[in-house]
Amino acid sequence: MNTIYETARDTCLGATDLDVSTCESMMGGLMAPKVDAGELFFQRERRLGWSLEDGKIKEGTFGASGGVGVRAISGEKTGFAYADDISCDALTPALAAARAIVKSGASTAPPSMPAMFEPAMTAQTGDAIHVLDDPILGMSNEARIDMMRRVDAVARAVDNRVSKVSVSLHAVHEAMLVMCTDGTLCGDVRPLIRMNVSVIAEENSRRERGTAGGGGRRQASWLLEGDRCDDFAREAVRLALLNLEAVDAPAGAMPVVLGPGWPGVLLHEAVGHGLEGDFNRKGTSAFAGKMGTQVASPLCTVVDDATLADRRGSLRVDDEGTPGQRTVLIEDGKLTGYMTDKLNAKLMQSECTGNGRRESYAHLPMPRMTNTFMLPGPHDPEEILRSVKKGIFAASFGGGQVDITSGQFVFSTTEAWLVEDGRCVCPVKGATLIGMGAEVMQRVSMVGNDFALDSGIGVCGKDGQSVPVGVGQPTLKVDEIIVGGTSS
């Protein structure tokens, strides 16, 4: 049986005029007196997506892409080029273009060409943290279509106020091979699936949407285990019906209880991005220079963990060939770690944490999150809710955003309740919550014992690059945050 490396290598370089030793000698052409490192990143990806609307399979799309990205690094400078084709003819001009950076390079470090390349053993012998099988081939088109129709039928059967159901199912199979003049030679195979259900419910000329879904580095058959896909359908309907009853959200500062799982998007925005190494090396993050200081309440321990089995944000190795890791970012409220790629780790004189990720061969890697979550605390979730005299309980969110320099972040509710005297009184309309990352984290006064991860739907955007991520948290209470409703 082939190793993961061999499978990745054969997928990327098979049926081309390139092999590993040719690539190694071509990569040697990147090296010059001022170049510290050269890197080639090969990638092939196949995608299959189906969509269902109004009970019918409306369309499907198949996609295939592949190419090679070339980096030459000189001190803090990077030259980058890529080719949409994996061949000697395509690689040669990309190498020349990436090397252009050398002309203005300032580093005086001597070139470091290792004598020979060996697959990076730490990475290669590691166990697969997810199945490697191609999720596109793993289920027949007939079975996929049956599953989507079933989800449609389940959603419609819940309630006659459901007027529209849309279901999508996506599968991606990615193989990557990275080689670097620091001796890295590493490959990985990464499946990814995702189902989304969107429901419109109508009553008395009011109309609301509910969405749910999930996935991960798994096979599509996972969606059928324990009738999971039916749960997504019922959850989407529940949210749509709930929002038909929603009243205007309040406006102003108040206590907010966040539910377990997906509301962990709070951590992704409030602290996650601010702890990415590039922003801290450059001193542009609100968290820059705060290592070891109290940046959150002592109840908060936040980690980024690429090693969780099958999760959407999990990575056996990152896109620079560094093994995926578990990095404690905040421990008992104290800042303990930044997330780094190779370049920023070197410039910050720290260990690389395996967070170097890129959207594709056509993008430069940079420090990115994987699965980011808060560990459970001592409190019973019921007790947390009971402690709120007047405020909001937010159980689900849409997206969020952060300004890493000021620390200001937002996230928007998709399921929220007005809380009075410790009880959920009625659902409220979607509202944006806004706060300053460090201030909000200091105001976390209770942390639940009901830790959960999200269902596998997160996409993180940074500098125009999207990557899949996971989030998670237990129920937690923030004593004061601004709720952007309309009712004062």
Partner: protein, 455 residues
């Protein structure tokens, strides 16, 4: 590749069709031989570079070269699509086969198919969209450095930089279908931008500015871009907190452009037939105040989103989307049109340059005076726009206005309302037109939204 001939990356894309029409025609023929009822293909190619400098030195030099091809087939009212980044015959054959295979599994839908043959574009004037920037990378680097230097030297409170960058891209594309239509397009985009950090006793703030145009001649001077970024950044320092409650809100032209895009999204066929738009059934009703119209101008020379034909080959033409406040048309592709039992409006792929009429009613200063006491929105955060019901709630950075003058910068606040009320509540449009966007508008003043703040 020599450093000083970098424009060679974009120039060929601007000046020739690169053989793309031949490829498109060949695979349309191949699709016909597969026995499909109809097929369409689009191929695009682009190339360019981005130079980023930070703190007075080069940080990255990136070269981009992208290819993509999409093939769609229709067989017995079933649709299948495939795309590839590889234009080799083997890859294109594989994509065509995959599209045909998918169409076998999809279910029939009478609304699928090409747009009507009679609507295909025949008038194809040169829209002046493609103008290569003949400049070497050293010059590009110098210009980016000048931009950042001007910004960093603007004010002592500018303490750090996220860098300045210059980029130049060119691309060409072809769309063909089994009606025998084949259209080519090309275009360049050049830009210079800068992002700076300022600091005072209250903390750090970041802001940016950029200039972007089809032609390098139309760009703002690099130094002025850096200074504008610095000016915007220091203006954010020393914030205070206004009270929670209703107040008038002025969307600066950059965010006003986004607000009008929200309106055109809600009028788009995809959302309408899915019943996901709060503007369902709004055709012929008043959405904007009666003194205001929103016009589409697809064939502006050098326009950011100019095109002779839409994503299905349909000829574009000027039209009023909102006429004297009233919805004059939805924005439809052939598919969404058939779903709604209407005609395509030539908006497959979106809208092609929008302008307001009148373009401006007041100067910005007059708008602030009209406002008296309220909020100026400079930056919006988050995705709190619900097009199903029109609910709007977003994070804001901007300025508080007292007595018609900017009083202090504001952050960590939200504004909320409903888009129906916001559009009807437009009371003025400023003369500070943002030329960079495909939605060209000045600042927009809205009579009232609810502001939520720590106070």
């Amino acid at each position: 590749m020599s450093l000083n001939s970098l424009y060679d990356l974009t120039a060929p894309l601007c000046e020739s069709d690169g053989g793309l029409p031949d490829i498109a025609s060949r695979w349309i023929e191949k699709a016909c031989k597969k026995g499909v009822d109809a097929a369409e293909i689009s191929i695009s190619q682009g190339a360019g570079y981005t130079v980023t400098v930070r703190l007075g030195d080069v940080e990255t030099t990136e070269f981009h070269q992208d290819v993509s091809c999409g093939i769609t087939v229709y067989a017995k009212q079933c649709k299948g699509s495939a795309n590839t980044s590889d234009l080799s015959p083997a890859a294109l054959d594989e994509a065509l086969d995959a599209a045909c295979e998918i169409a076998r599994f999809a279910q029939p839908d009478a609304c699928h198919g090409l747009a009507d043959a009679s609507l295909m574009a025949t008038d194809m004037p040169d829209l002046n969209l493609s103008l290569a920037w003949r400049m070497g990378i050293e010059q590009a680097t110098e210009m980016a450095l000048a931009c950042e230097d001007a910004g960093r030297g603007f004010d002592a409170r500018i303490v750090n930089s996220e860098g300045a960058s210059l980029s130049s891209y060119g691309g060409r594309g072809v769309y063909a279908n089994t009606h025998g239509f084949l259209g080519v397009s090309n275009g360049t985009t050049h830009s210079i931008g800068c992002s700076l950090l300022g600091e005072d006793a209250n903390g750090k703030q970041r802001d940016y500015w950029y200039t972007s145009a089809r032609s390098a001649d139309a760009l703002d001077d690099a130094g002025s871009v850096g200074r504008r970024a610095a000016e915007r950044c220091v203006a954010r320092l020393g914030g205070a907190t206004p009270p929670t409650g209703p107040c008038p809100v002025l969307f600066e032209s950059e965010v006003a452009s986004g607000l009008l895009s929200t309106l055109t999204s809600a009028l788009s066929g995809g959302l309408l037939y899915r019943r996901e738009s709060f503007l369902e059934g709004a055709l012929g009703t008043d959405i904007l105040p009666t003194w205001l119209s929103l016009l589409e101008r697809p064939r502006l020379k050098g326009g950011a989103a100019s095109a002779n034909f839409d994503g299905e080959g349909v000829q574009t033409a000027n039209k009023a989307i909102i006429d004297a406040g009233q919805v004059a048309t939805y924005l439809l592709s052939s598919y969404s049109a058939r779903r709604l039992r209407m005609q395509t409006t030539g908006n497959a792929g979106g809208v092609y340059n929008l302008i307001l009429h009148p373009q401006a009613t007041k100067t910005r200063r007059e708008l602030l005076q009209d406002m008296g006491r309220g909020l100026v929105v400079r930056e919006l955060m988050g995705q709190g726009v619900n097009l199903v019901n029109g609910d709007y709630s977003r994070g804001v950075s901007g300025f508080w206005v007292e007595n018609g003058e900017i009083a202090y910068p504001v952050s960590e606040v939200t504004i909320a309302g409903n888009l129906r009320d916001m559009f009807r509540g437009i009371v003025g449009v400023g003369d500070d037109l943002d030329p960079r966007r495909h939605v060209r508008t000045g600042s927009i003043l809205i009579d009232s939204m609810v502001l939520a703040t720590p106070a």
